[in-house]
């Protein structure tokens, strides 16, 4: 009997979904738009910063130095200036992001290692650019015709495992899967019960013998399928356009995703039992979405966050899922090796689902 009812609720959800063109478009549209946006527009390997040079030395060495800067491709020299003041002016007007000031005594400074050889003026309003400038500052100068090889010695060598070319897409796409699924899954279920309430369907539904767990499960199962289709879409686009690998088992990835999707759907259902209108449900969804982007290690390294932010992050399903996707897709890890994250997602799902079932009232008062 419960099975008949479960199938009935699921069939109804599928039918409604199929007829809701906007939602249907969102299933495909949101992942596509996000992955293209993040894949192309967001790029942490900064290149071609507009720069101007004020070369007060004008020596062969200084010209060699400018050439080297140019070769890094980090800066693109767009104009020449004659004084540091002109650099500052161009910086303030937003013409350039970096000003390179080479003082008149540049040649002497290169040999005398007490003082920096040249000065970089950067737009400190953008932390990424400041970070790049700091990297430039430690750039080894290779003046092989002079005896300055001391300068070219680096104390540490960095080897980037799993992403040797340090391509942003490889880093972004595994995390983006979690963000996209959080957004779409939570949104779809958050409005589901509220919508039935607003349309008056709920008053009829709670007067039928259908039990609350059957209703809840029937509402989320169709979306698990939708979520897995979205995952396939993201993986395909990630692979074709950005060459993002899946080094681990695809089955493990799907297993982790199914659990993660269930966690978000359960959370969405819970929101749906609390919110009174669809608009409220959406507000709460976005309230949760923001930390799911910021506190999960997607944008900022998790270990670098303040302790409190880390605690909050641990409560969010996306934190665990990002660890799973990065592990499985990039490090060839298995769900068994990452069982702690799987367990966290399972516990989250169980708690959210129980809360939703308990919170769902079969009465109107």
């Amino acid at each position: 009997m419960a099975m008949t009812r479960l199938m009935a609720v699921m069939r109804k959800e599928f039918r409604q979904l199929r007829r809701d063109r906007i939602t249907f478009a969102m299933i495909v549209g949101i992942p596509l738009a996000q992955i293209l946006l993040f894949g192309y527009a967001i790029n942490f390997d900064v290149r071609n910063l507009r720069a101007a040079v004020a070369d007060e030395a004008g020596t062969q060495l200084s010209r060699q130095f400018i050439d080297q800067l140019r070769q890094t491709q980090v800066v693109r020299i767009v104009s020449q200036a004659s004084t540091p003041a002109e650099l500052e002016y161009a910086l303030r007007r937003g013409r350039i992001a970096v000003g390179i000031h080479i003082p008149a005594d540049f040649d002497r400074r290169v040999v005398d290692r007490q003082r920096p050889a040249a000065q970089l003026l950067v737009d400190g309003a953008d932390p990424t650019i400041v970070g790049i400038a700091n990297q430039l500052a430690t750039m080894p100068l290779d003046f092989s015709d002079r005896q300055t090889d001391l300068l070219s010695r680096r104390t540490l060598e960095v080897r980037a495992y799993y992403n040797p070319e340090q391509r942003t897409a490889v880093n972004i796409v595994p995390g983006l899967i979690g963000v996209i699924l959080t957004l779409t899954m939570m949104l779809f279920t958050a409005v589901s019960i509220v919508r039935e309430r607003e349309h008056g369907n709920l008053e009829l539904l709670i007067n039928t013998p259908v039990s609350t767990p059957v209703l809840m499960v029937g509402k989320i199962v169709p979306y698990i399928l939708i979520g897995l289709i979205q995952l396939a879409l993201i993986l395909a686009v990630g692979s074709f356009l950005f060459d993002v690998p899946v080094r681990g088992s695809i089955l493990d990835l799907y297993l982790a995703a199914a659990l993660f999707i269930a966690a978000n759907l359960a959370l969405g259902l819970f929101i749906s039992t609390v919110a009174r209108t669809q608009f409220q449900a959406m507000q709460v969804t976005f309230f949760i979405l923001l930390p799911s982007i910021l506190l999960t290690g997607f944008v900022f390294p998790f270990d670098g966050m303040p302790r409190v932010a880390q605690w909050l992050g641990e409560l969010l399903p996306n934190t665990h899922f990002i660890r799973l996707t990065r592990g499985i897709m990039l490090r060839d890890a298995t769900v068994v090796e990452l069982q702690g994250e799987m367990l966290a997602l399972a516990v989250f799902t169980a708690v959210a689902m129980t809360a939703a079932v308990l919170r769902f009232s079969r009465r109107l008062d």
Binding site: D20, G200, L205, N207, T208, P209
Partner: protein
Amino acid sequence: MTDQTDLAIESRGLTKRFGALLAVDNLDLSVPRSLIYGFLGPNGSGKSTTIRMLCGLLTPSSGSARVLGLDIPEHAGELKSRIGYMTQKFSLYGDLTVLENLEFIADIYSYPRSKRRARIDYLLDRYELVALRHQFAGSMSGGQKQRLALAAAILHEPELLLLDEPTSAVDPKSRRDFWAHLFELAEGGTTILVSTHYMDEAERCHRLAILDRGAKVADGTPAELQAGTGMAVIEVLADDPFEAQRLLHDLPQVASVTQLGVRLRVLVPHEHENPQRLVADALAAKDLRAECNRVAPSLEDVFVAVTQEAPHEDAA
């Protein structure tokens, strides 16, 4: 089979408060099986709240009720498969077709698979929905939606059908057809509780209760209620009905005056010996020409008589 004590609904002191508002006040109800029982009352008189309490959607603040022999709200769960409930607002799925809605309801009530096809076909036929079966419910007219809602509410063959103002959004022809369906269901043994604020609908009920501000102010068959008003009804045909109404309204013996076109319906309590003369003399004294006749009370007169708190407030 039905003996006198076999009641579909029985309530004692049923009360519902929403904060400071007393929505239902100490309601005693006895609804016999297999007939149509009406709740007549203006908006806000507690009709919907009572129906919702009886099907377990609202918890009574105090008092008790037994529906089909089950105490509510304790056994509301068991009750759900034995009652049908038609909400005031259309509550089926607008983005599902007529057929899909009925199939969904059949599954939700676990209607036996073997009989399902035949039952749905019967309902489609009986409620003139055959041609509409592949149409989205949301795109239908008020009357069509109402027929679908009724078909869905009785699909699982409930013993008791609760209808909350079912005809508020439909035209007169649909209303008449709808009532024909209700009589047919009652004939088949279904008990029907229907709320309305239409007098003509109330008159069709086997029995009814008049609700006013949450309290039951009268109940019985329409004929009993009409006989027991305690009021004489004088119909006045006056040359100047407006002046006549003003004058009669100020008479201390008159309970209420209602204008119906050129006629006035004047309610005078029975304790006055000759109500007709009383009214005629009062009008003659002011040189107002009028024809006064004593008539039988209508249900509307009953309604006006029992819902009137202060007699001289109505026609102001």
